[in-house]
């Protein structure tokens, strides 16, 4: 109850006039940052960090964390409208969000995404409010073996269900792993598959590949069928918000599942990216509408968005209480805390009560403000679909090029983006699925690193992956999910036999 009291004081602090202004400003900036691929949450926060040095820490963190919320919201917009994820965690949102937009349901998809984000974030904040110290220490139990198990779980929950040729799913996954391996190996410092090139030394950045594979290739696919966008006849009315909300209770189970996945991945620093893929994979597997996923199913938007935001928010918990950032943006905020003279860590909750609870209160309010602001922009963004193709397509391509460039300030990356655009176009037409490649690219090197660190520590003993209850549960859970398809097929067949006999 002491927490609740402290939270109320926090609300008082956060609700002061200038803090609300900072909140709105932050959310707006965050949306801009999230919409433009490559600018991204971490950059947005990092760029504004020096401007906040003169402010009092509570206002500063309210401004910066509002940018974070805004960026989380904004990432969904380009994913849905143009198949270009502004942030890595919105990739899974494109799988169903973009088909919805093509069907003229952009408004519905955007509303679903924003609302799901809000629900996820609120779950995350509730977690922080209620059980902060308890959950934080759980994160400490994660060593390399446990991290590997979490990544394995993500892979297993996502793959093995596609309708495509199994060989092509496998190839796509392998390409992702191999692309992730290019560049300097973090454990040995060796260069891998760079063939002496200075540019390849940096490796393939996830966003460059995704902007090409999804965004540029989509434009190529579009022009093949004539020079205009599909779904441009979208009806744009504010009532679409209410209509979409009316559907939400039907997907209650998906929302709860994604919240749980997200909070868990946020606290155990698995992160928002892994959470969004896992949320999507689990929803596809366990939902009645599973077979429609990928064709414009609203649950396919709700699931990853809820999970990503629950994770993105919960990720601030290990940052505040342990001083370990759960995400790149959290890492920048962490740097900010230190610059303002606050020491993140177990003592922050004791020494800087006002600050911590002001921040937590601003999480509730910032997300609420964010939701209202983004919902108001739904018609605006949906209207973009009506602008003539000849004007929007070069704009999208310019934004893609800028995004690809800003990631590493390299023109080579713009060429890579173009190359991956062609690869994406050819692969889509030949039915090579792109999602497994993207998943392996974003998590492959982390999984490999965790695996090698675990093996290095154990002296090559594979037993480390069954060394304690936590890691063995995770591994068993992962393998069950991997084999779920064949198992349920088998059971259905057996049942079918029994029924016919």
């Amino acid at each position: 109850m002491e927490n609740i009291q402290a939270l109320m004081q926090g609300f008082e602090l956060a609700l002061s006039m200038h803090n609300i202004l900072y909140m709105i400003l932050g959310v707006l900036l965050g949306i801009v940052v999230g919409v433009l691929p490559g600018l991204g949450g971490p950059n947005g926060v990092a760029i504004l960090l020096p401007l906040t040095f003169g402010m009092d820490p509570t206002s500063a963190i309210i401004l910066l964390s509002s940018i974070y919320w805004g960026a989380l919201f904004g990432g969904a917009i380009t994913s849905i409208l143009f198949n270009i994820p502004g942030e890595a965690w919105s990739v899974a949102t494109t799988f169903d969000g973009y088909p919805m937009a093509q069907q003229g349901r952009a408004g519905e998809a955007l509303t679903a995404a924003f609302t799901a984000s809000f629900i996820g974030a609120i779950c995350g904040v509730l977690l922080i409010t209620l059980v902060a110290p308890l959950v934080a220490s759980f994160a400490l139990r994660f060593g390399p073996a446990e991290f590997f198990a979490v990544y394995l779980l993500t892979f297993c929950s996502f793959i093995g269900m596609g309708r495509e040729n199994r060989g092509k799913i496998g190839i796509s996954l392998c390409i992702g792993f191999l692309l992730a391996a290019v560049g300097m190996d973090s454990i040995s410092g060796d260069m891998r598959m760079t063939w002496g090139s200075g540019e390849l030394m940096r490796g393939f950045d996830f966003l460059v590949v995704v902007i090409g594979l999804f965004g540029v290739s989509e434009i190529l696919m579009t022009v093949e069928e004539g020079l205009e966008f599909k779904g441009k006849n979208a009806r744009i009315q504010m009532t679409v918000v209410l209509k979409t909300w009316a559907q939400m209770p039907r997907h209650f189970v998906t929302l709860v599942r994604s919240c749980a996945v997200g909070m868990w991945m946020g606290v155990t620093p698995g992160g928002a990216i892994a959470a969004s893929f896992m949320g999507y994979g689990l929803a596809r597997r366990f939902s009645r509408n599973g077979p429609n996923f990928g064709k414009g199913e609203i649950e396919g938007v709700l699931a990853p968005e809820t999970a990503a935001h629950a994770a993105g928010t919960s990720a601030l918990l290990p940052m505040l209480s342990l001083g370990i950032p759960g995400s790149a943006t959290a890492a920048v905020l962490l740097g900010g805390l230190m610059i303002w003279g606050l020491q993140p860590g177990p003592l922050l909750f004791v020494e800087q009560k006002d600050f911590v609870w002001g921040l937590i209160a601003s999480m509730y309010l910032g997300n609420l403000a964010g939701l209202i602001i983004v919902l108001l922009t739904v018609p605006l963004f949906a209207a973009i679909m009506r602008v003539p193709f000849g004007m929007v397509a070069p704009l999208i391509l310019m934004v893609c090029a800028i995004g690809a460039y800003t990631i590493a300030n390299s023109i080579f990356d713009i060429w890579l983006m173009l190359g991956f655009g062609i690869v994406g176009y050819v692969f889509k037409k030949l039915d090579y699925p792109l999602a497994p490649m993207v998943l392996a690219l974003v998590l492959g090197d982390r999984a490999e690193e965790a695996f090698r660190m675990a093996m290095l520590g154990s002296g090559g003993d594979v037993g480390v992956f069954a060394a304690n209850g936590l890691v063995s549960t995770l591994i068993v859970f992962a393998l069950t999910l991997l084999l779920w398809g064949p198992i349920s097929d088998l059971m259905a067949r057996l049942r079918g036999k029994v029924a016919t006999e």
Binding site: F53, A139, N409
Partner: protein, 326 residues
């Protein structure tokens, strides 16, 4: 021991008055690590100080180029020869990267501006560990069946060199486990997935204050100068040196600023003056104390001599470890 005052005298009498050049376009500070890390914090602190005090009219931009353990940033600055609007924040990586990779780089490709500080390293263990001194740790490592696990940042870099130095000096055999950042290693230590880390003070201070980890000794010649209490009863100054505990390993890492090669001496002098001003501000001193960085300001000839000495030292260390490529 060098004192900042001498640098000022040198500056005032030598290159100071010849200053005519001024930046006209935005100054880019290229950070070879990701946002949030120690180098990034330093760059953004400098950015904040310069902007707040109006030391220069041109805007300052921080750009992160974290790929390939900083090699990418070094390649970029090497490619920007003659461009006086680009600065590189660097650490000992300025020697380590060229020597441990096949990349065509050398610190002499860059124009040294100033060394801003030195970063210490300490031997950290979990707060619940039985070791009270470096000697306890060494004995435990000798007695242990499986080798103890020591964590640090990166591969073939400062932390690993220290870990190998400890192995050699004490005649023990620990395994070094590379992490992507000091914070990650610190958390793994707090969760008892590691037996020790060789982190910088700033990377471990949160967990030390939180009672999750504690230092056994610092790998410096003298105890750290900061006497203000960090935890309830200990200050940085209270940590004994490793040498005093019979573990004779010493290592400190430079943190400094370089310009690309081929800039004029007026341009170099402008930045020397700029960073001298930065290093005299109270904000900078607070930053140093908070991060437990040692105030070692060097510029000009003095910095170059220092760099030459360090290069030789690192060449010997890397050659001992078998990491030397060039």
């Amino acid at each position: 021991m060098f004192r900042p005052a001498i640098a000022l005298v040198a500056l005032a009498s030598g290159i100071g008055p010849a200053m005519a050049w001024e930046p006209t376009r935005p100054i880019e500070i290229v950070v070879p690590f990701s946002p949030g890390g120690a180098s990034d914090q330093m760059a953004r602190t400098i950015q904040g100080i310069i902007q707040k005090n109006g030391f220069t009219k041109a805007p300052i931009v921080v750009v992160n180029k974290p790929a390939a353990a900083g090699a990418e940033a070094m390649m970029e600055i090497k490619g920007a020869e003659g461009d006086p609007q680009k600065l590189l924040t660097t650490s000992t990586g300025v020697f380590l990267t060229p020597m441990t990779t096949k990349l065509d780089l050398a610190w002499t490709d860059y124009t040294p501006v100033a060394m801003l500080a030195e970063d210490a390293f300490a031997l950290w263990v979990n707060a619940g560990a039985p070791y009270q001194s470096a000697q306890d740790f060494v004995e435990a490592a000798k007695a242990s069946g499986a080798p103890l696990k020591v964590g640090g940042t990166g591969s073939k870099r400062e932390d690993q060199l220290i870990a190998l130095g400890v192995n050699k000096a004490a005649g023990i055999n620990t395994i070094y486990i590379p992490h992507t950042g000091g914070g990650q290693a610190s958390t793994q230590l707090a969760g008892q997935h590691l037996d020790a880390t060789t982190n910088n003070p700033a990377e471990e201070v949160a967990n030390w204050r939180g009672g999750a980890t504690r230092p056994l000794c610092v790998f410096s010649a003298e105890a750290l100068p900061y006497t203000e209490k960090v935890t309830e009863d200990e200050s940085w100054h209270d940590i004994p040196t490793c040498a005093s505990q019979g573990l004779d390993v010493q290592y400190q890492m430079l943190r400094g600023i370089f310009l690309p090669g081929g800039v004029t001496s007026e341009q170099q002098a402008y930045y020397v003056d700029l960073f001298t001003k930065v290093s005299e501000t109270d904000e900078w001193k607070e930053y140093l104390e908070r991060s437990a960085l040692l105030p070692e300001f060097r510029s000009g000839e003095d910095f170059v001599t220092y760099l030459q000495g360090e290069e030789e030292k690192h060449r010997a260390m890397l050659s001992d470890a078998g990491f030397l490529v060039q």
